[in-house]
Symmetry: C2
Subunit: 531 residues, 2 copies
Amino acid sequence: MSKSSKSPLSRAEVWKQLKSHHEQVKNLHMRDLFAADSERADKYCIRLDQLLVDFSKHRITEDTVALLLDLAESCSLNSAIASLFAGDKINLSEDRAALHTCLRAPAKDSLLHDSENLITQVHEQLQNMEQFAGDLRAGKIRGAGGEKFNKVVNIGIGGSDLGPRLAIEALQAKADNDIDIEFISNLDPKELDSVLSACDPNRTLIIVVSKTFTTLETRTNADAAKQWLVDNGCTHLDKHMVAVTTNQSAAKEFGMTDEHIFYFWDWVGGRYSLWSTVGLSIAIAFGMESFRDLLAGAREVDEHFQTESAEKNIPVILALLSVWYNNFFEAESHAVIPYDQSLRLFPEYLSQLVMESNGKSVTLDGESVEHQTSPVIWGTIGTNAQHAFFQMLHQGTHLIPVDFIVAVKNPERQQQQLMQVSNCLAQSEALMLGQQHSSNLNQKFAGNTPSTTILYDELSPKVLGMLLAIYEHKTFVEATIWNINPFDQWGVELGKKLAIQIIQELSAAEPDEEKHDASTQLLMQEYLRRN
Amino acid sequence: MSKSSKSPLSRAEVWKQLKSHHEQVKNLHMRDLFAADSERADKYCIRLDQLLVDFSKHRITEDTVALLLDLAESCSLNSAIASLFAGDKINLSEDRAALHTCLRAPAKDSLLHDSENLITQVHEQLQNMEQFAGDLRAGKIRGAGGEKFNKVVNIGIGGSDLGPRLAIEALQAKADNDIDIEFISNLDPKELDSVLSACDPNRTLIIVVSKTFTTLETRTNADAAKQWLVDNGCTHLDKHMVAVTTNQSAAKEFGMTDEHIFYFWDWVGGRYSLWSTVGLSIAIAFGMESFRDLLAGAREVDEHFQTESAEKNIPVILALLSVWYNNFFEAESHAVIPYDQSLRLFPEYLSQLVMESNGKSVTLDGESVEHQTSPVIWGTIGTNAQHAFFQMLHQGTHLIPVDFIVAVKNPERQQQQLMQVSNCLAQSEALMLGQQHSSNLNQKFAGNTPSTTILYDELSPKVLGMLLAIYEHKTFVEATIWNINPFDQWGVELGKKLAIQIIQELSAAEPDEEKHDASTQLLMQEYLRRN
């Protein structure tokens, strides 16, 4: 991942070899690949702790895997991984490190960065979280009127929202106290009004999560929430507000006291931040022990990712398969289907993680890419998905690889869980096998749709940590191969700039005809006419 | 839409013309198209009631529109529309009509079908719904112990779930009584357990919605809910259970009484069914007047769709644009971004509606299609989406057309609503315009990403009805052009069959090695080892 100019990926020798290999194997059917090799399932299966990752239902041969591993090597994947963990400034366009892995390192580790040991800083903040979350859960920290808190409202958006939101929902069964966690993210005031109308201001703690503390949505919602406290007679606002930010002075200005400001660092990207103090609401909901289990799961994957050989390395294999379909089969999307109600928000979380990271067009060398980058990541939970869009996976015309994620245990409802698992397995089997039918094409299934199955016992904090870290690193490996920076997001800037412009003009009821295309003008006039 | 054999679309003259036209215009930038024609915004804008549909930010010229309209005509669109509304058996593979439009026809209309007036039957059921929902809301219908109901649990999946679920969430602000509506769809027992644990069995009414009354998920959850009533000492189960189905005898066998069975018809497809008694929970939540407003909105679109000329016909234009990107630009996905918190489930609803309808590979003539059919439909609400995957829409490599849907009014929070609208407009502007930047490619935005903007005042039942009907008819027009049947779903059958097989084998703890590929065997063994 050096700045030195590389020749474009598409002209690399191994890329050309993959192109011609693709021509040879693209019409092979997985049915035949399974028939030809009785070892295939065992060969293409990786176990890590309680996770099993089966990638045998892919349109790959031994040669495919060998070439993809060559591709990884030709992109200096190993040194890229080393740079990630070492804290090198691999986020070139913003000239900083990407050190989310450091957030889950054990206290005994050390990592010097600008001559400070980051691990020490990280554990200080974890300690602060533990104290605060523990006191809040125990009812020692109370509202201005002396009442215990029963609602915590997390105000944030993007990375300051989706991670905690996912974890709170995913682990809900483990909630062990009577504090409910609510979320407000959208600029649309309906969400704010709906959440706050169900809260008692005397018993509500607002957590404002914003890396810069300047995010439009978050500031607007935080202002409205503060006003709500004032309108309801709250005399000590500071007792009802907490900040999680890298910008302590802005939080103080807003009204938070020192002991209510939790810190994180500029080397934590928003979409990689739930491991930091951004996860405060998770610690409040489930206790710090669970939060540390979440970190431990991610840490286990970090070690696997750093030390395992490429062919048995889960994030590496998943990324190479993604590249295989995206760049050679020209698949434009990838479906994620968790057969686990707890992971309802997982596809949405991944859609941010992957697409914001790898939806890029410029290489690390500052050139335009000559190949496709991230596919669309989408999906929803099974079995619901079977009754929604699976028709298209089975009989549509676009190739869409699938990740199945399935929990196999539910001691309280074994028979229903068995049916749930059976459905998941049946779908990957049907997508792969297909079905011949001579007379009626409506009953023909081409099959040969690839899928990965990730299986675990039950969703625990640790398993959730493992899953999230696997996809983080998968995303990093893709980026390394595509030679792009997964840690910046310049693409969101233009929209922000134009939004400020339009807000000003609509507020003044004076659209500037010079500045906008005719369509945008028409829509602005329509807004004004109706308001 | 006759059964007579047609030559494949891809060999049609107008298709070839579109191919060569695409070659000519594919590199035109919308910036230049706007600069060249000051009338463009007005020309490509359609108004219907309070909806405004702006489709000027598309990569189309006057020639494109003319050719696409020719395409529609060459596919006999007008007669297809007439057949739809006339109740012809256009669902060829299942030999039946698709008459969801009949569900929103006024009582004075008539439509003879198997020598019965369907409209009369429809209005009888509406009358029954009105009576029941009204009595329940008024507390006249009560539980076995004489208590008023405060929870209604809708058990269904796919079309028996997503429509009501969407409407209940979308119109939540209009809920005017203290009956909460909950949903159980997933086979994963966690959803059932989580919902029922928050219900008082004495005050809970279960609605089982299933067209056939045999759906595995719904039957399993209905059985579990019934058992929960029994376990909690309910002596008159029939007072706590309602069925919505075409299979009255199965509902009776399950334990529902005649007055607790609501009927619909085999000519209503699941994903087109919220207009029928499947919408019972909607009528309970908001009253029958609101439900009739929902129908009226759809009806208004039905009339527009039937009578408006193609170039000013919203569903026709949206479908032609979809075909343009899908079949000529080879875009594989289409994003739907409502800037309205109320429409949070809309992308998921559309994903079922569109992909289950048009994810097909066989023509109405029983041949394999030679062209691509439905793209992937995905998305989430703005402004959240801006902080999630918009990076990729702005700077990724895949072409992804976008539908923006935006509410412009919120009298209680005008300034925040103004900011919300401004963000939506800024995104479509930024996606279209792009931004040149000479020195730093990170700040370059190619632009030229097409989008439609649908604008309305506030989400009311009527507006929701209009939006849903627009997308229903858009889906029908796409299917007509692709010469496929949007009303069947044979693709879900193979997975169902294999699931039953695997359920049997796992229940007996005896996987049949002969019947499964090695991967599925391995996963089945893993399940058994862990349970």
